[in-house]
Symmetry: C2
Subunit: 382 residues, 2 copies
């Protein structure tokens, strides 16, 4: 379904009925009356949307829990259309966030989705879960990544959200390894931007002789540290919170941590964001128990077991190249299934129902010891 109709742009909206007049200073009471009128219409439409959402349930037959209605591919399509036609003034991220919340509320009318994540509350994993499922979903903070998998498999959680890689630092191995034994499927992905700050008691760069942080955070800010604090000692500690705690006790120390840690530990921001890659992002996977149909812009994750023999890797890669399937990522891990047997985690563009992907997989299966489709799922949306 493609629509070309567009809302009137914020920039040149003067001529549009209902858009703010630009010439004269607006009257506050009038502006508020306009907003009240708009709120009334938004409320009516949200109510109408919620009633139609109930009909989705009925169309699907006698099901009860939200997990039976939730369709990641449909949600991705809706959100992509919203971004396509967004011309402000709210950013794509903000308007998508609002629609995720509206969808979350409509979906939660039956029984809210239960979403497991690495707790406690307040972690990046929770932020990712909320970003994807909204605040009407029921969050289950869990003690470990392993537990997110087991709670999803057992059905205690409908879906789980687990970190899988950082744009600068690479893969979170424990997550990948879980797929070696778990039956969980990948149903989606979430990307979350992560910002780092240099924090110290004085707030003066010249005072700093030591920088505390988690090794991953130090690594994310390497280039910045080389340039601005070439002589400072870098001290890896167990967490960024611990780094901030230590920096609090010395005049010549600083911590790399999130901005919030500065407020908690009374530190001033010397500089930030200081991550080397301005797009420093952690990618999370949404795991569930099912595979879903294509959304039109999908990624597939495979787990391929191969015997360690000459040409094995080549045989794995060849079918993708031959069928024009674009590979995003390949990573090998010990398979734990036998000595000298390897597992490859492979991400590529497309859905297992796409013809070129089907052809590549059919060929791959002739050469590999085992091929397991972990999931075909919509690409992360903003």
């Amino acid at each position: 379904m493609s629509r070309s109709r567009k809302p009137v742009a914020g920039k040149g909206a003067g001529a549009h009925a209902g858009a703010p007049a630009k010439r004269t200073a607006p009257d506050l009471a009038q502006v508020r009356a306009q907003i009240d009128e708009i709120d009334l219409r938004i409320q009516e439409l949200i109510g109408e949307r919620a009633r139609w959402a109930q009909q989705v349930g009925k169309a699907k037959g006698p099901l009860k829990a939200a997990v039976d209605y939730y369709r990641p591919e449909r949600e991705a399509q809706v959100l992509r259309r919203i971004i396509d036609r967004n011309d402000g003034p709210l950013s794509d991220a903000e308007i998508v966030r609002l629609f995720r919340e509206i969808m979350s509320a409509c979906l939660a009318q039956q029984q809210p989705l239960k979403i497991g994540f690495l707790g406690p509350n307040g972690t990046f994993s929770e932020q990712a879960a909320r970003k994807h499922f909204g605040h009407s979903a029921h969050g289950l903070p869990l003690a470990s990544i392993e537990e997110v998998f087991t709670e999803v498999e057992s059905g205690n959680a409908d879906f789980g959200v687990v970190p899988v890689e950082n744009s600068g630092q690479g893969t979170i191995q424990v997550t990948l390894d879980m797929f070696l034994t778990s039956k969980a499927r990948i149903c989606g992905e979430v990307e979350l931007r992560v910002h780092q700050y240099l924090l110290s008691r004085s707030g003066q760069l010249a005072d700093i002789e030591r920088v505390y942080s988690h090794p991953q955070s130090l690594a994310q800010c390497q280039a910045w540290l080389r340039q601005h604090l070439p002589k400072a000692e870098r001290v890896p500690v167990s967490s960024n919170a611990e780094a901030a705690r230590r920096a609090r006790n010395a005049d010549d120390a600083a911590a790399i941590a999130g901005e919030a840690a500065g407020h908690v530990y009374h530190l001033k921001a010397v500089a930030g964001p200081i991550e080397d890659r301005p797009d420093n992002t952690t990618r999370f996977l949404v795991i569930g128990r099912e595979l879903f149909p294509p959304s039109g812009n999908d990624r597939t994750s495979l787990l391929v077991f191969v015997k360690d023999q000459p040409g094995a890797l080549y045989e794995v890669l060849r079918p993708f190249a031959e069928h024009g399937v674009s590979m995003n990522r390949i990573e090998s891990r010990p398979s734990h299934q036998g000595l000298w047997q390897y597992a490859f985690f492979i991400d590529f563009e497309g859905h297992v129902e796409d013809a070129p992907v089907r052809a590549a997989l059919a060929e791959l299966e002739r050469h590999a010891a085992q091929v397991r489709v972990l999931g075909s799922y919509p690409l992360a949306i903003v």
Copy 2:
């Protein structure tokens, strides 16, 4: 501004154009097309609302930060109207939540509000702050309630959110006492429901001989414990998380804690919610630097210093009774201003701009050593 126009009710909506037809099983594709059409209109309206919100800023003159636009009394009025005309299918709490997020996004177009709360992330205080200010606001997790006050006074935070009382357990003294010396004003209140669960390793009530929990949580579940576990020992510990941690290590122990703690510590829910008052609620105050105009349904908080002399309390209470001002709460605290001088915290219905309140205050000032208006603010909305 009163509107009588109502959206069509969910229950008997069959006759309404655009409402789902009830007779035949709906066709999924048709239902989705309807939802797409509604989403398009919602998106247009949100964009239009955001543009009008920019005009509010212009109407108010050359201001820049969101704090200059934020009007708690106006927000309360908008949300009350939304509740008045809500006839489902979403609950009042859900529709209010969605509108708070829409307002939060519109307000954050200039520069998001900075909201201090007792951290770390994931606390009830953060939940209260998000419930009130939405997710476009910038959250500042702080180390203590004291610090929330100082960050608001210094302007580092635009507003703060601090717990002030629990429906079962009464006042949080440290918060009240901060007002004795702080210049912060009360601009709003937030109510948050709190649920307690009995958690244990086996999940069997018969096994339980000890119950760990924070003293406040034990107190919130007194009657339930008396009825269901009359012989079990009650062991107060420093936090509910600590309680869950201890319960994990014994077959004959249980913890009272939030449901989430059970997932973190691998405990089963024996029963819950088990709080004695089904409306177990913590009330938070929103603190800022200003007083705001009436919203039409307000509460006022006063701090009154009186000399310890016969009849002093009576002289404090009398003006309210005489002018028909309904008092909700009075609490006395040592004033720290001199031996045998007392401070009374008084909450009553109405706004300092209301005539009866003005009259009562004028009379009160003749008898009290000092009267300080902490704030007149809209009552909590769902």
